[in-house]
Symmetry: C2
Subunit: 427 residues, 2 copies
């Protein structure tokens, strides 16, 4: 069984390491030996990990995919990955990819090509690294009806938020620390602004609901608006702030979004620390499930890739084929405004009688029901005058109603400032 | 596609409900409609849930399995389940079973029969109910090297230990509460004494290490020796007590055991509450993974069963076959005495100078290294004389060395009583 690897970065190197060091175990599990026939790179001349046999390196990726039975794509990015995978499929190779961006943007094209060629397209590593989540959702839960997926699927932002919480850092300092440890890129935009999480949300939603969701369908908000103060107050009120990828199904369709949210400290997702990932799934019969582990990194991602390689290679040996795209449900994708969530609103108000009632009245007028209201001692304002900090938690409300409420509250004379508006999820 | 269900208890009823109410979704996912052709029961005359079409009930299980393409076994017990499954396989049906006892005792016979007949044998529901763990271990982690599995795989005992912790109940009272809620059987032996967990441990170990482990290979100790006092002291020293199923691989072979253990409160398994299950997996490349969800109950177990039904039915439609038994590694199964773990030992000693040093010397003599030692205030002894309570936590030690140490400590004049010896896991 000839295996080609496209890309030899952190993940590619670990894929090569596993293929090399575990060759005899892999052969026993597949029923045939896996021969690494080439590793496509942009530049064969640069220094590599000693596990990488330099004789296997090639800059001719197009030629390589034509000589393989299984093509592993761990180069990332849209092109040339897309063209190479389509070419591999045309040549009858099974493909394994970790490329979330490509799948979230153009998955159906790849699915259709693989289906037409009768080859496998596997991508466990594209969502949440080492955590088996694609296979469980595509296969284990296929007899159930998934209602909701809540995921911490970006380790960088989880690390950043965790540092803000445990060490009181502000966002910039925490991002710098993540960069120093290699958790964040030099340009952290894709992580911090939620693009990476949005790609994974689109893939998970497509699988969970048997429908097509592309990254363009995902409402996205990153963590760049989160302050150290938000994190402190979240904890004081019993929550952790997490960047969540959320996919929900209702009678009207599916709604998919990425945003920071308050998660109750008692919820299993609140305990997910550091660069770990976790995906929480609610299904009609199964109830609540959670999948937890390392969402990134060379070796963890390579583990997921190799699991797929063994699966597709087994199909070549024993016959059969893995699941194809399941998009029969063809559900409408709803805008973020269709989502009803709970909110926590923090505002600074004048510290005098009657203010609380006035604020509550504005919420009532807009039909937003308050679940809890708490008045907390606050430091003196910039003008040296005492003020009070109100923390209001609402019942489920539409984004529209909540925005109108907040705008009206901000206009009140007694309100100095709306500090933050955050969604509450998982409660 | 003709589906037969053997057994119509809590799980069987929910399997029938899903097959009936989700028929159109299931047909779309399989690519063929699933027709429920019969439900084998012991007594067709008793009252059933209205979802069960009485016309499908039959007491002729042997006849039923001969008319099905997919046989779902949710009756439990060794016989007649074993004979019926073998007959179904002989007749060319794919089989899906939730029967952990049967698989842990006689899995290889079923595997061999299914392999010879070229049919699928799936059993996701046999371990940890709704939690996808069989498929992830058999397929997602197949390119990796699993080193250790730590599982809370019995919801009844987890509920009991949780109640002892949160409500200060003693074991008997907590078991009675579990019985009242339907979490524990009238005879709770299989759960409380760890037999159920041992069956699951055997199955998980076989899958994770590509070797054969039967329930007879599992060292088993239940929770009947755990006192309310043990639970209180565990928490005071930073641990939760959990009944763990543990499978470990070393250079010498595999060691599989079930026993109560102290788990650090910071470990993800410590937060698994109530009747929930969780399986923690350590793999060489993937690192730490955890799978969490409902480990029992009709609907959750039925979700896992239906996932398998769709998988095996798809193979009938699209061709192919799921994984067969992988036992090529043929590893020796090591006795419990081969396991090296950390221990926490609590003893009551005379409250006078020098005792602590004497006790420590006994540990040193036996080569058991102490990691932490703590002296706690204790109530007056039965004789009204003051004593001190020592809590010692060791580094990794063999069971043999630890037992010899404890015996020698118990013989010291200054030692009144060895209160408890518990293993520490997950640290």
């Amino acid at each position: 069984m000839r295996v080609a690897v496209l890309g030899c970065g952190v993940v590619g190197t670990e894929v090569v390491r596993l293929l090399t060091t575990q060759a005899s175990d892999l052969a026993a599990r597949v029923g045939a030996s896996l021969e690494l026939v080439g590793i496509a790179v942009r530049d064969t001349s640069i220094e590599r990990d000693p596990v990488v046999d330099r004789a296997l390196l090639t800059e001719d990726a197009e030629g390589l995919v034509e000589r393989a039975d299984v093509v592993v794509e761990v180069m990332g990015g849209i092109e040339p990955a897309r063209t190479l995978l389509l070419r591999a499929i045309e040549h009858g190779a099974a493909v394994v990819t970790a490329n979330k961006a490509l799948l979230a943007q153009d998955g159906p094209t790849l699915y259709a090509a693989a289906d037409a060629a009768g080859v496998d397209l596997y991508f466990e590593a594209a969502v949440a690294g080492a955590i088996p989540i694609v296979r469980p959702v595509r296969e284990s839960l296929v007899g159930d009806r998934v209602q909701r997926v809540l995921g911490i699927v970006n380790g960088t932002t989880n690390y950043v938020l965790d540092k803000m919480s445990t060490e009181g850092l502000d966002l910039d300092a925490a991002v710098k620390e993540a960069q120093a440890l290699g958790y964040a890129e030099a340009d952290p935009t894709a992580d911090v602004e939620g693009y990476d999480a949005a790609a994974k949300a689109a893939i998970l939603a497509s699988l969970a609901f048997h429908t097509r969701v592309s990254i363009d369908d995902v409402d996205r908000e990153g963590i760049s608006g989160i302050t150290a103060d938000d994190v402190v107050w979240a904890e004081r009120t019993g929550y952790a702030i997490k960047l969540l990828a959320i996919a929900e199904r209702s009678d009207q369709g599916v709604q998919v979004r990425v945003h920071p949210a308050l998660v109750p400290l008692t919820h299993p997702l609140a305990g997910v620390r550091g660069a770990y990932n976790a995906v929480f799934v609610e299904a009609e019969a199964a109830g609540e499930l959670m999948f937890y582990g390392r969402g990134a990194g060379g070796a963890p991602t390579a583990s997921a890739v190799l699991g797929d390689v063994v699966s597709v290679a087994r199909h070549r040996v024993l016959g059969g084929k893995g699941p194809v795209e399941s998009s029969y449900a063809a559900l409408p994708v709803l805008p973020a405004s269709a989502a009803r969530t709970r909110y926590q609103v923090r505002i600074d108000v004048d510290d005098r009688p009657g203010v609380l009632a006035t604020v509550a009245a504005v919420f009532a007028t807009h039909g937003v029901s308050i679940e809890a209201m708490r008045q907390a001692p606050a430091p003196l304002g910039p003008d040296g005058v005492g003020f009070a900090r109100l923390i209001l938690t609402t019942h489920q409300a539409s984004e529209e109603a909540l925005s109108a409420t907040v705008a009206a509250v901000a206009d009140l004379d007694a309100v100095r400032r709306v500090i933050s508006v955050l969604r509450v999820e998982g409660a």
